[in-house]
């Protein structure tokens, strides 16, 4: 069960902050989330949204294990 985290506007859009989802690959996880919620699915692939696996930003697909923390990071703005 990968642990999925949403930040910022993605969380408001989805209506949840954190969920456990079983998925062998990031691509499969994205597909499942899009199937459930097409608007969220599109937003997760939107411009400037990054994905971190166990706090490391990745591009493209990647395998997930039962303990992987998957974070969707929309465009950032501090200070």
């Amino acid at each position: 069960m990968a642990r999925v985290l949403l930040f910022g506007p993605l969380r408001d859009l989805a209506g949840w902050r954190e969920r456990e989802i079983d998925s062998p690959f990031l691509s499969v996880l994205r597909a499942r989330l899009a199937e459930e919620d097409a608007v969220l699915g599109a937003a997760l692939g939107g411009p400037g949204v990054q994905v971190a696996l166990d706090q490391v930003v990745v591009r493209g697909d990647a395998p997930l294990n039962a303990r992987t923390e998957v974070a969707f990071l929309p465009p950032m703005s501090g200070g």
Partner: protein
Amino acid sequence: MIRLTFEPFDPGALLTEFCRDRTEVGAVATFTGLARAEAGATTTLELEAYPGFTEAEIDKMIGRARVRFGLLDVLVLHRVGRIVPGEPIVFVATAAGHRRAAFEACDFLMDYLKSRAPFWKKEHGPDGERWIEPTAQDHADRERWT
């Protein structure tokens, strides 16, 4: 060093500490970002971080600033959670032998924090709430360093 805090903080107390026992640091530059009321349009800011990841990313940028500007020390404190107008959001202090390096490093770190650091910022006001993204100016400011 980078720290996140949910509690209000006093930038002056941080500066006092940062300047203590410095006999070879000629120059300390600081920046304090304060929450603005925007004449009543903003009642609260809500800042979210990704604990662990946020500190690690900022720490990488601090490392780059240290090398690029030859800094002797750096401190970044960033508020998270709910912030009301007048409260500090961010404090950056840089120490160097001479002033140009201290100023530029502080400026560089702020441009990074405003446009690239892992924070998400929501503004609450009488007209509702909205997520804030970096402005075109913020991106242009950051581009100065590339």
